[in-house]
């Protein structure tokens, strides 16, 4: 290792040249107003466009003109997260420490471990936070607690973690109250707004199977009539209805749909959708049976997948649902396809 002409010494030399205390880049200013570009960007990612590339460079930022006594807020580097935070911080002077969570929001990143103890300790050291502020307090969003062990951060860096409110909108009140969160600030809300914000994402995500359904129905139409007929427009209605039921109606009606299991919630919403389709459209008995089974399979499946967008589901329950409901959904879908295809020839 000590031979200067030996190849293995080169990375070692680089290591030596690097200063012991990494000189941090000066904190960048962060605006508290969103531009039309930010608004457009958030709209785009809500439809799932470029969602995994919507990032902010990790590091230390400043809001207003902070000094050595200003609070330090920690957040993730998903741009939607940073935007949600900074727009609430008008007229405040503080530091924002953006962790590298690979462009994922605080809660999900904490679950994955990227918003975690190690990354927080690394960031504190990388930006030289101990030289920037005189105090030793960090405000970490409460949902980050899934990945951050406060006592370990304290032991490694001397910084004391204060868990801030769940929502960015409560941060100013929390700070004004001397870093005290009310019980309401500690709860995760899941009202109709929170339930619907991911609906475009869920619906946009179905475009591949939806296209498959349209192509299959077109093929059946061709086989039956020798050409594409206007009936195709009617054939797709129950399936469009099923996707909208699973992606929009289920989230909207979630608290009122009976049962704790999402597969059952989805199937019950599917019954409403199927009844609507059968009342609206003239169908033979075989076609009606096939369509109903397919609609129930789609709504039940989509409802199950909505567990990932909720704030209260657990893994053991999700496993149980997959084990119990997925085979039933698969059988229902298979039988539905057989009947729907048969209906085209009777």
């Amino acid at each position: 290792m000590s031979k200067p002409d030996c190849g293995c010494a080169r990375p070692l030399q680089l290591e030596i040249r690097r200063p012991a205390q990494v000189s941090p880049t000066p904190p960048l200013p962060l605006s508290t107003t969103l531009t039309w570009r930010d608004v457009l960007g958030s709209w785009r990612v809500r439809w799932g466009i470029g969602r995994m590339r919507y990032r902010v460079a990790p590091g230390l930022y400043r809001i207003g003109t902070p000094d050595a006594s200003s609070p330090v807020l920690v957040t993730a580097n998903y741009k939607l997260t940073v935007d949600a935070l900074r727009r609430r911080l008008t007229a405040l002077d503080l530091w924002i420490l953006v962790l590298d969570t690979k462009g994922v929001n605080v809660w999900c990143a904490a679950g994955k471990g990227t918003f975690g103890t190690q990354e927080l300790i690394r960031s504190i050291e990388a930006v030289g936070l101990a030289q920037v502020v005189a105090h030793r307090r960090l405000v970490v969003p409460q949902l980050g607690a899934v990945g951050v062990a406060a006592h370990e951060v304290k032991r490694a860096t001397g910084f004391q973690v204060r868990y801030g409110p769940v929502l960015a909108r409560d941060v100013p009140v929390y700070l004004a109250a001397g870093m005290q969160a009310t019980p309401a600030m500690r709860r995760v809300p899941f009202g109709w707004r929170e339930r619907l914000v991911l609906a475009p994402m869920e619906i946009a995500g179905t475009w591949k199977p939806a296209l498959g359904i349209v192509l299959a129905l077109a093929a059946l139409d061709l086989l039956r009539h020798g050409r594409l007929t206007s009936h195709l427009a009617v054939d797709v209605v129950p399936f469009v209805g099923a996707i909208l039921t699973g992606g929009l109606l289920v989230p909207l009606l979630l608290p009122w749909l009976p049962s704790r299991a999402f597969a059952i919630k989805g199937a019950l919403a599917g019954v409403l959708c199927a009844i609507g389709a059968l009342l609206l459209l003239p169908m033979g008995r075989v076609e009606a049976s096939g369509v109903t089974l397919l609609v129930l399979a789609i709504t039940s499946f989509m409802a199950m997948y909505f567990t990932g967008a909720t704030t209260f589901t657990n893994e053991a329950g999700a496993r149980l649902e997959v084990r119990r409901a997925l085979p039933v959904i698969a059988v229902s879908a298979a039988l539905g396809i057989v009947l729907r295809v048969a209906a085209a020839f009777v």
Binding site: M52, A110, G111, K112, R260, F312, N314, E315
Partner: protein
Amino acid sequence: MRYVLSGHTLALDSGLCNGCGRCEEVCPHAVFAIHERKAVLADRDACMECGACRMNCPVGAIAVSSGVGCVAAVVNSLRGQGTSCDSCSCG
């Protein structure tokens, strides 16, 4: 709203608890309460098993099998596409 099997793996060892209150602070569903300087499970059925309490318990008094309550993640792991949300676009 409550989910299937919620809180089934959550266990609290009162003997180890030092009453620091971190669990009550970090829980997003008010599962914990502090009574006479000890944490108690006030509403276990609301637990989503996120693991924030166990992570922040300085004396290791809390056990919970945490994971993501996401059917897509479960299906992905069954299909051998990573054990968590690696292959998912959840963000």
